[in-house]
Point group: C2
């Protein structure tokens, strides 16, 4: 029986005898082969399905660690800014632990599933008339002056928890892949994976090339400039001033990898292809990883036969509206009449 | 590395040398303790989080089996009627396997997340102006006459796959619980769990009491009559003429359990309590199990100290609208101004 990340990777995490046992059964997510896409692309591809985490995103890995340390340190309240996934995770673990949770989101700019989560878990939610970067500035300022623990990725325990995903990839494959392909928003996750791979490298595991992909409308690192008004349908990575900017560049440079951008069109293509060819429904931002691989296979940067792990950061159910809006297919409405139905189901009759 | 149900429970399933390896990494879902609710209720409670399955519901267990056998038997197309979870699962596994998938849903009566899934996975979707029971009649008739495999729970392989959830409960606890508390809609799941527990009983494991709970607006088994116009916000169990009616009664009688009903109000209470006290967000229908336990603890049917496993059939993200609509809490909209924010966050300042 899986007892969560703090239990399983205890020796590799800042867990002390005073750290409370806290878990929603996060981690231990599937690493699924994607045979159809692999054949088409000429690679050996996998997806790391982080949407299988308790609140449907990779954020649970870092949050369980940050929340446990907050409790250990006597905190009674936590705060974060969020495009939605962080707030869902913070709210869930705070509910589990009995802590107050304050979340600040950009008004009208988070996916419906994520708002539903924060509401259900009982967080105090503030929708700011601004973007994520502005929300983050506010919560930083509050946390500096008030007795409330910041659980954004600036909290160093977040990265510690998140690095366990790299451990799991290595554990599942028996070694690191050739390429780790990952969406880049606030850049905490690419930082965490790289930290995890480097720690496993000490035990003799290989190091992958880190390939990070921003959405074109918020490609601050690629353009080397803060994007004042980031825009992309991949709302989870709609961040114009990534908190872990320098660490992401370091991960790229140390690993011999790259950080590039993909357009919303490329993201949507990957999003639909993944669902229809492999039966995997991830949130749009997640699919920046696959979109990036497609681009980098085409231009020859990823050589044929490469073992590529794609991080799918969040569950597709987080954002049902985008799935429906972007689809060319819609339900055919029919009368409750067998003949009408039978004739509508064309091609079944042989 | 978990390789899915057909691999893990191969010897206990109708898997032959000709059965294809098919998996989306279904099964192996968390059995999570619920300490806060357990204390309040005076029981030892757990939740079996079936929303962690690849398409977010327990349906994936039966669907992987049914789909693998359809492929083994040479089928090129599958069909089902669905309140949403079955169609999502069928569409995903059909996409994975390269089969055509036809789904029939009640028009306007399925949760948004579930529609998004069927759309994304590329199913051919027909929305019938009728209810689930009428949709089921239609697909049965098509499947009888045309070369298309029915993958509703009338397909016997569905029950075979679904029984693995009982195996997992026993594997995690080391034995069966005292009580298995489970929502009842079409009654396939209670049937499958009971079959699974009986099979493990052959190996010396105990048998639980099976306690099934219908929604009051579609409580056909409890009332002993077909409900012509079932109504409940727990749309996943909004079924007035359960296909496995007799088998559910058999599970109840053989186990010394019961089948009772819970109101929408009781379901919503359990749904919110579970999220806010334990950090677990399940879809409304799932919470019929917890609502049922609350009722049965109050009336003394479940004695203090009982070990009770609650089946949470689906992920809360399947139905974000109900979460938001039912909540008394909503985001506070504030200006992008620090002073406005700081004064809105009352009580943080010490």
């Amino acid at each position: 029986m899986w007892k969560g990340l703090l239990h399983h990777y205890r020796d590799l995490l800042p867990v002390t005898d005073r750290t409370p046992e806290l878990s929603l059964s996060e981690g231990n997510t599937p690493l699924l082969p994607i045979p159809t896409l692999s054949k088409e692309l000429g690679i050996e591809g996998y997806v790391k399905i982080e949407g299988a985490n308790p609140t449907g995103s990779f954020k649970d890995r870092g949050m369980v660690m940050a929340m446990a340390k907050a409790i250990e340190e006597g905190s009674k309240a936590v705060i974060c800014a969020s495009t939605g996934n962080t707030s869902a995770s913070a709210a869930a673990f705070a509910a589990r632990a009995g802590l107050r949770c304050i979340v600040v989101i950009p008004d009208g700019k988070i996916a419906q599933g994520k708002l539903a989560q924060a509401v259900m878990y009982g967080a105090e939610i503030f929708a700011i008339k601004g973007n994520f970067d502005q929300a983050l500035e506010m919560v930083k300022k509050i946390a500096e002056n008030e007795p409330v623990t910041l659980v954004n990725s600036l909290n160093p325990y977040r990265i510690e928890g998140q690095k366990t995903a790299a451990f799991e990839v290595c554990d599942a494959l028996g070694d690191a892949p050739d390429v780790l392909s990952i969406p880049v928003g606030n850049a905490g996750n690419i930082t965490a994976y790289w930290k995890g791979f480097k720690e496993y490298h000490e035990f003799g595991y290989a190091l992958p090339k880190m390939m990070g992909f921003e959405a074109s409308g918020s490609a601050a690192i690629v353009r080397n400039q803060v994007i004042e008004d980031p825009e992309t349908l991949a709302t989870a990575i709609r961040i114009g001033n990534p908190a872990s900017w320098n660490k992401a560049i370091k991960a790229k440079e140390e690993s011999g990898g790259l950080i590039d951008e993909v357009t919303d069109e490329e993201i949507v293509h990957a999003y639909q292809w993944l669902a229809q060819s492999e039966g995997v429904f991830a949130e749009p931002a997640s699919c920046a990883s696959l979109a990036g691989t497609i681009k980098k296979v085409k231009d020859g940067t990823i050589p044929p036969g490469s073992k590529v792990v794609h991080v799918l950061t969040g569950n597709g159910l987080k954002d049902p509206a985008t799935a429906i809006d972007q689809s060319p297919v819609h339900p055919t409405v029919i009368e409750n009449d067998f003949e009408a139905f039978a004739s509508a189901v064309t091609g079944v009759k042989s």
